[in-house]
Amino acid sequence: MTTEQTNNWIPACRIEDAVENGGVCVKHGEEQIALFYFTRRNEWYATQNECPHRKQMAISRGMIGTTDDEPKVACPFHKKTFSLSTGECLSGDECALKTYPVKIENGTVYIGLNQ
């Protein structure tokens, strides 16, 4: 999730603002980032909010789950699924999501953006 190389941590929200077992959308300038609080697994994930399939800003509204223990999110538009850890499309498409590391400090959720 987190990597040592990350140096640009942006605060996204408080833990209590995140949606349990679901996603929210974080605004960072012009960028939109989907932030997921996988409460059942006590894991946090962040990906681009735009679904690469039809370029819709919708990933944060997708349902999350697992397949063979791999955490994933399904885009609400056409149910393409993507790995939350790698961003790889699990529905057999070439397209992929950008993923970002997440860390929690003092109740605040930070997303790590590489410059």
């Binding site: 077992n21 605004k27 919708a58 509204r61 349902m63 789950g65």
Partner: protein
Amino acid sequence: MVGYKFCEKIIAKSDQFKLIIFGEEPRRAYDRVHLSEYFNQKTADELSLSTESWYEEQGITLYLNDPVKEIDLSNKTVHSHHHITVNYDYLVIATGSSAFVPDIPGIEKDGVFVYRTIEDLEMIKGYAASAKNGAVMGGGLLGLEAAKALIDLGIKETHIIEFAPRLMPRQIDSAGSEILRSRLQAMGLHTHLNKSTACIAGDHQINALKFNDDTELPVDMLVISAGIRPRDELARLCGLEVSSRGGIIVNEKMETSDPHVFAIGECALFNQTIYGLIAPGYEMAEIVAANLCGSDKLFTGFDMSTKLKLIGIDVASFGDNFITEPDCRSIIFEDTHKGIYKRINISNDGQYLLGGILIGDAAAYNMLLQTTSNRIILPPNPEDLILGQRGSDTAGSAGITTLPDSALICSCEGITKGTICNAVTEEGCETVDAIKKCTKAGTGCGGCVPMMKDLMVYALKSTGKYVRNVICEHFNYSRQELYDLIHIHELKSYDEVLDTLGKNDGCEICKPLVSSLLASLWNEMILKKGNDTAQDSNDRFLANIQKGGSYSVVPRIPGGEITPEKLIVIGQVAKKYNLYTKITGGQRIDLFGAHLNDLPFIWEELIAAGFESGHAYGKGLRTVKSCVGSTWCRFGLHDSVSFAIRIEERYRGIRAPHKFKSAVSGCIRECAEAQSKDFGIIATEKGWNLYVCGNGGSKPQHAHLLASDLDSDTCISYIDRFLMFYIRTADPLTRTATWLNKMEGGIDYLRNVIVNDSLGMSAQWEAEILVLIAAYKCEWKEAIENPAIRKRFTHFVNAPDEKDPSITFVEMRGQKKTPEWT
């Protein structure tokens, strides 16, 4: 024939009798029933019932060509034409019948024949060689046989003249006659009904028939087959009791007025009836033989059911073939294309088969005759007896197995059934996801995924693999099993269900499914904490996500009825929030292009004006469409709008395996298109007809009639049961039409369950749906009043007041629309 049969029977029973036979014809008894075959293949010898030596072997004295001329009842002797006198203990008269020849001027002319004996046939054969066209007088059973004989003899043009308004008037009805007539026409046999012959024209030999309606028909020959006349002249002569209309009167032991003399076959009159068929004749022979040998057997009349192949066409009648309403109910199937007509008459209570007529296809004759004569209780759908079981045998697979391999399943990706099945059988795909990866099917709009799943199951089965229709890797249960388990364990949230019944962390397949089950079972607010993220995205935001990421808003307009005031409110709200407006197919108004952030404000205004959620986003009741009905329409039978509103308000908000739609039409003109709905109602003179399991969509299917002429309350209780049965048993995302297609036993089974309560579940279902109805609340009202839920209707978690800047619109016809996919 009957005389010969009597000999056979009495010999088999006893050797105490010495038998002496006098016969008028030069031949041993032969098969008259198949007389017409004499013309094509059979010889007289082949038609013979016995071998030449049979009579001798049995010790029977046979006098052929030597008719009895006189019976002396007091001395118990007979005298023959050749002056043979024989004493008898018992005399059996089996003289049969002769052709009835009507008294028409010119009947004696050359070229006029009867059709009765081999001699008649030989004369016809001789004369036919020089004839071009011929006619048969009489459209009964024998007449049609004779007509066939003329065709076989090479007569180019053959006519059938019938006095009655239909063919075979003793066996079939007018509609059946029409079918038979058209089939005969196709074979070159012209039929003239309602024709009464005035005279036979020609000098010495016939050249035309003149009718009473002043028409005439040129013919070279005429075969008369206008009925039979019992050969009772000997009996009449010797003083036996004979009917004035012909026939030797017999009792149930076939005894004549002299207890030593019997009469059997077509010369005998029992109970005012001549039995002109071979089977009762044989039965009479059996009665006499049995009684002479000491048994006590009685003739009680005979079923005149017949089945024959007439000129290659099956014709059958059985039981009470002519009984009509109101003494019975008739089910009639008529196929003028194939020339098939079937009619069955059933008792008014629907319990018994009384009789019927079959033309063109008499395969069911034996079974029908059995059902009639044994008074077998009819199945709930007696039409199956003549139409075969429809729906059930093929229904389980009607959707998919009957499709050709080339059928396009996924139209987004252009994937056929063959490709999908191949992915399963050849590539080893055993999950829908695997097929998606392998073939790309189902990766577009996803609408074909349920069908893919069916195809996968079907293909796996075809390879001999046992398939359990489980939900996904997290739940090793079918939807129906899970429904019952959640009910039993009284689970109320997705996490509880997953912890109790599933494993791991769930996915986008089981989450909406479980959420739908929870809603169907408990009807609690679907966005209750913990369940919100388990909802499908539309349910999660109580609105339909549209292209571009905006949402649409659909307030409920029950039955499509709306006041001007409410219309104005919709207009004002649309204007204020810059929404595109469109009338939907379900008679309501859709407001498109709403930002997620605006949804609570829009609904606040709509609810204040008296609107409520239309559940356009949910798998549940959408609309109940209606025509204007009897309140305004001059054709309307009942108030369809009021009934539609009552139904819509009863079932609003109830979650099901898939969306369902309904409609109510005020008359048979069906303006509300109720027969394309999951359940549809059409007004009749007496009440409502209820149709179920119709569908528009990609595979349109007409709804089936479930029950007729219902009063409103019965109609609603049937819908209650129907919906609960559907909710409990359908596979996920399966519309009612597909659900029915997969149901073993099809609509008959469904009707039995709903109408006849064959599962004994009706009371429970009716109680369960009342719980759901009572728990109804407008979800949007709850959502805007609950701050925790309302808080979720924002796009950015870190900038709650900002709308999604990526949403853009373009203009079209004075309104906005979304830009095309990029």
